[in-house]
Symmetry: C2
Subunit: 379 residues, 2 copies
């Protein structure tokens, strides 16, 4: 009988790995992409849609759900799964990234971080203990520790001080939720900016804590693709092989395949969903914008290789019309397709790793999307 | 073998009737409510959603589809059904109402009406022949003749002149599309404003034309409920009993039940869809706004008597959260429910007429929604 936190590797292919992570709401095959459901809803989709496109785990944002509708309200509803009707696994972030990117008037102290709501300007305080409590209220299958996400370009002194604080906060999260006290998993986060030795130090410190998995933080904050890859390839091997590895907030299809090649198991990003709402679509032929004038009379499917409802039912001509006419249905149909593309990419990656053909799979996609991911620049 | 236009009455109960209208894309049970898909999409819903909630026929707007994406483009796609993936019956209006309510700089002549697009200000001309041609390009199952929708408060002289023009235009539509030249049905429209004798004259003139059905126009233009009902009850009996009767742009649940009681078979209105997007929901307990503060922690279904996906899956608390957080999913879940409410109302009305209990059915709903429809005032 599998228990939450069990992580079974089924195959490796170079540094790439495929396996299954057990959670309280079911198994998660890895590598996996997690659609982002910031406010308790993957924008425009219902749980039935998510099941249809083969989603296996979704993400919720602690910062947003704490502010609205409130984690205690969600707890009284029976947790996030009962509230939003998605009964598969849910991962929540710690809220740290949003506090540092979205909220106003931040004040960081040893104790935690004070901030101002982006909704109504009200003042709030997140401590390591508080974000664990919030995520327990949400009943997240995978909870993340509070960390400070160092902004891109931070100097060595700041980064060093920050990673030490992140380590102390991670230890306090674990203490606030000792192993064995529940089925919610707790993941640590490695920081260290773009200094290899600081990444090494952070990995050593965080991995010494008794966590169910480990995330790489601060690698989707504005750096170049090369810098991201360099730091990723340096750090991923420092994480324990028998625990899941999660690259937070990444990324483009090629970023994800590069991450898998470096030994990462889990990914999340708003790219497929946000781009869908902007009309930018991912297909087996590369990226395209559905607004393109030459799609006006194009009766072919958006992606002839895709099995999603959008591609099985509608032509590019109709999808273009919906988008140009600002019809609400455009957002859902585009989102269904883009997420299905990312989820199929993961299915393909898992199969390729199992067959030992991941390098060829990776190269095939690099030929379509560009090895340096430039097809996704500026997003 | 039923042919498009066949209209079989199965039962009557007072003036109320239930039957089936045959179209080229299948049978339509009456009385029926037609969800409005202005730009070729019932806002936020896909064809699968429409089938799930039991929609039997949807409406498209000729004015909008002519302007964007263009009826000739739709014809090259194989018609509106092939374009938008809804393979059930479609009714299109003639565009007249939108020209008179939405477009700019109208100029009416014997020949037709010149107008300016609300999208880009370009100038266009609708003649009776042109709107038939557009609707043939869309391949509408039910086409409407071009009419002048007389504004509420128009004087007798204007109304009299206008109804005569509407009759001449209707005759030209029939000439442009002689019976037997296709499977698209053509409905006439009775005008006459709020002058009973002019309604009588218009009904006589329009019913003398060889049409597949007859609509009552100009009864959702700002008049009081009493005025609407009075004119409806005067005019409906003047229409041939063996043809379907369509009350255009109506209305609230009680307006529709009153229409059925007066012998009307078909209805369309943006009320359930537009209200859904404004958070105003129709339930077996009456109307309610999903934003209500007391729904914050309400774990019950929106309407415990409803069988729609929204009511079977989510609580009022979650629906309120989605709406307050402006999540795209709110629009779809609310729309699914409101349309299902209207469609179930029609299912109930058909069953009640068949059983000879429509008066009780009518009274039961009047007790919930208010006999004078005041529950829907101002919409």
């Amino acid at each position: 009988m599998p228990r939450p936190g069990d992580f079974q590797l089924h195959a490796t292919d170079g540094a790439a790995r495929t396996g299954v992570l057990q959670t309280a709401h079911g198994p998660v095959p890895t590598p996996i992409f997690m659609p982002v459901g910031t406010q308790g809803s993957v924008k425009s989709l219902c749980p039935r849609d998510l099941a249809d496109i083969g989603a296996r785990i979704i993400l919720g944002n602690t910062y947003h759900l704490y502010l609205r509708p409130g984690d205690e309200l969600v707890a009284r509803r029976g947790g996030l799964h009962a509230f939003n009707g998605w009964h598969g696994p849910i991962l929540t972030d710690s809220g740290g990234f949003q506090v540092f990117s979205l909220a106003g008037l931040r004040k960081i102290s040893e104790e935690g971080v004070e901030f101002q709501s982006h909704i109504d300007g009200s003042r709030h305080f997140f401590s390591p203990e508080k974000v664990v409590s919030i995520q327990r209220n949400l009943n997240s299958d995978i909870m993340m520790v509070l960390d400070e996400c160092v902004p891109y370009g931070a100097d060595r002194a700041y980064t060093e001080k920050s990673l030490a604080l992140t380590t102390r906060w991670a230890a306090r999260c674990r203490e606030a939720y000792p192993r064995g006290s529940g089925d919610n998993l707790l993941f640590g986060i490695v920081q260290g900016g773009f200094f290899a030795d600081l990444r090494t130090r952070s990995a050593e410190e965080i991995c010494a804590l008794d966590m169910d998995g480990f995330a790489l933080g601060g690698l989707s904050v504005g750096e170049s693709k090369d810098e991201m890859l360099q730091m990723l390839r340096h750090t991923a091997p420092l994480l324990p092989a028998d625990k899941p590895r999660y690259l937070m907030g990444v990324g483009t299809p090629m970023d994800i395949l590069d991450g898998i090649a470096a030994g990462v198991d889990m990914f999340d990003c708003v790219l497929p969903t946000r781009n869908a709402r902007n009309g930018t679509m991912y297909t087996s032929q590369g990226k395209l914008n559905i607004k393109r004038a030459d799609f006006r009379e194009d009766d072919s499917a958006l992606d002839p290789e895709c099995d999603c409802y959008t591609c099985r039912t509608f032509s590019k001509a109709y999808l273009r019309h919906l988008y140009v006419a600002r019809e609400l249905l455009a957002y859902r149909l585009n989102t269904l397709h883009n997420l299905r593309f990312f989820l199929r990419l993961m299915e393909g990656a898992r199969a390729a790793i199992a067959e030992g053909t991941f390098a060829a799979f990776h190269a095939r996609h690099a030929a379509v999307f560009g090895a340096n991911g430039s097809g996704d620049s500026g997003e």
